[in-house]
């Protein structure tokens, strides 16, 4: 005797088609100024990418992970969150960091291999970039637990990639968030690739949204190149989470148009044709087409924006590079609240060695 005891489903949502036409009426929130602002953020994120890659190529930045093609995901995350929420990002979310107030200069510092880039003046409780894939998901659960225990109407957002959904820590954090009804929104930036491993090889799951089924809460797919759909889904999920409704998973379907990082050569594992196809889904071109069709964007607007972004990025890069490195003692001065006496000798030796060298 067999009975059906549970069923689940996954939905996919989009508002803007790749050519910019609205396939459904946009939620009221998305007026012209809002859309223009979102567009500006995406263009700035891309300008940062371009400059960062150029700096890396000339040895002035370390390995860099561009977000080319995925700008809508990060910008939507940044735009949907409120100041008191906390972002727990992976390493491809500078777009979200920028919207939340991390400065371009701080971002350049970080990517130039300077810890001060993480001491950003902006969202002071946000986590810095996390390099070990997925290992930040439990941190997001901890942040959300703090909100819940203090009965604050705040939420955490944890972003990671399709590859990260194979990590046990991501699953564990989702399971905890479900079990404890934590105010935590998980965002999978499914850009179809984890370095050279395509999404289909990462898991047999038809969608990544259904990873939430195992954790006992809902997941949904959203067009990850449609910043409107993303913002809308995120705002709903965040509102619900802040109100005590528990976690949610959003799978943003997007595509990594560039190399994995500046140390990668994507042509080793995927062909131009595939990339070309995905350029047609570009989130920036899509929103520009939509804005233009609405009469809310002109060629002049575009030129002004590009000029402004380039100038801001150039100035920030210059400022970041002008900053002298920290003194040698910095290697020890932030390790503990107070340097243990046992380490005083090492610190002195390092400072001395540096002085000898100078």
């Amino acid at each position: 005797m067999t009975d059906r005891v549970a069923d689940f489903h996954v939905d996919f949502t989009r508002f803007l088609a790749p050519d910019g036409t609205a396939v459904a009426p946009l939620p009221g929130f998305f007026d012209d100024p809002t859309l223009r602002r979102l567009y500006g953020h995406m263009v700035l994120a891309r300008a940062f990418d371009t400059k960062a890659i150029a700096l890396q190529r000339t040895g002035r930045l370390g390995t860099y992970a561009p977000s080319l093609g995925q700008e809508a995901v990060a910008v939507a995350v940044g735009a949907a969150m409120v100041d008191t929420d906390v972002l727990v990002p992976s390493f491809r979310e500078h777009g979200a960091q920028l919207v939340r107030g991390v400065t371009l200069q701080e971002l350049f510092l970080f990517w130039a291999g300077d810890e001060r880039g993480n001491d950003f003046a902006g969202p002071r409780q946000d986590f810095p970039v996390c390099i070990p894939v997925g290992s930040h998901a439990p941190h997001a659960a901890g942040v959300a637990l703090a909100f819940k225990l203090r009965r604050e109407a705040r939420a955490a957002v944890c972003v990671f990639g399709d590859g990260a959904t194979s990590k046990g820590d991501v699953y564990e954090a989702m399971n905890l968030a479900g079990a404890w009804t934590l105010p935590l929104v998980f965002v999978v930036a499914n850009n179809q690739w984890a370095i050279s491993v395509r999404r289909a090889h990462q898991t047999a799951a038809r969608t990544l949204a259904q990873k939430a089924v195992a954790a006992g809460f809902a997941g949904e797919q959203v067009d990850g190149n449609d910043v409107v759909a993303l913002c809308h889904a995120l705002r709903q999920a965040l509102d619900r989470a802040r109100a005590g409704g528990g976690p949610h998973l959003i799978e943003a379907l997007t595509y990594r148009l560039g190399d994995h990082t500046t140390a990668d050569d994507a042509s080793r594992y995927r062909d131009d044709e595939e990339v070309g196809r995905h350029w047609k889904e570009d989130p920036i071109a899509r929103l520009r087409a939509h804005l233009t069709a609405r009469g809310a964007w002109t060629r002049d607007d575009e030129e002004a924006l590009l000029t402004d972004c380039a100038a801001r990025v150039e100035a920030a890069a210059r400022d970041a590079q002008a900053l002298a490195p920290e003194p040698a003692a910095a290697l020890f001065d932030h390790l503990y609240a107070t340097l243990p006496p046992a380490l005083a000798g090492q610190r002195a030796a390092l400072v001395q060695a540096e002085a000898d060298h100078a």
């Binding site: 941190h139 901890g142 225990l149 399971n175 243990p340």
Partner: protein, 326 residues
Amino acid sequence: MPDITLVEAVNLALARAMAEDDRVIVFGEDVAVDGGVFRATDGLLARFGPDRVLDTPLSEGLFAGLAVGVAAQGFRPVAEFQFMGFMLPALDQVMNHAGRLRNRTRGRLTCPLVLRAPYGGGIHAPEHHSESFESLFAHVPGIRVVVPSSPARAYGLLLSAIRDPDPVVFLEPKRLYRARRQEVPDDGAGAPLDRCFVLRPGTDLTLVTWGAMVAETLDAAQALDREGVAAEVIDVATLKPLDTDTILASVAKTGRCVIVHEAALTAGFGAEVAARLADDGLFDLRAPVRRVAGWDTVMPYPRQERRYMPGTDRILAAARGLMEYA
């Protein structure tokens, strides 16, 4: 004031810390209703409620990472591992995050957490319930590693660990959990986290140890005393940062040193102590630095565990050997 055991002292310190600072929360597996598999958290749920004493789902990696996140938000989580053997899935969080969060953000986010675990053998427990790999943690920058060996030190060191603004790995010698009772005033006084304790003064030989092996080492010192050898016994207590001064000062006096630990010899923490002596204490040494440690093999299943763990006899043999050197 009744005498209490080491595990009761842990419980007392936890209750004290929770009473004095409502940012202190306790979580782990079975710490709430059940009061912990060794009862270290017994009564805390009833007293402090379900917001401050939480049973997590079954994953050590998870709750270590959870501790990092909630600590960054200003809480002071104390997470219990049921046995040290189950800490390995948490090592990624300890080394890649807990020890780095402050440094990585230049102090913007901090990580005041305590990870507690019973360690060591001798209770006839199943596989993975008897490990000692404190040296792994001692290698991790940015954390503290603390190992009490008496009820009083357990109380004082745990209070200090919880109050410390940085991450502490706190390893409790489970063989000593109920081995003896001691009067421990619940006065809230912490013990220093940067100092070794001289448990017994002596002039002929220094015995350096910590945690689980303190009992056997004190026994050996007593036996040596009867042989006319005055052994100084040092309980390292805080392995990281290591108080080398106390050890060097002792060996400067005695010229002989035996280091005792239960963990496997190779790359055990005894190596670090010996290395300090081989450097800063070399010319004080009249005799080779000996390590009496677990063998370089897997901790056996309980039927054979006594063969693995160093006993008083092995400490004595090493000590007597060193007394041959003039």
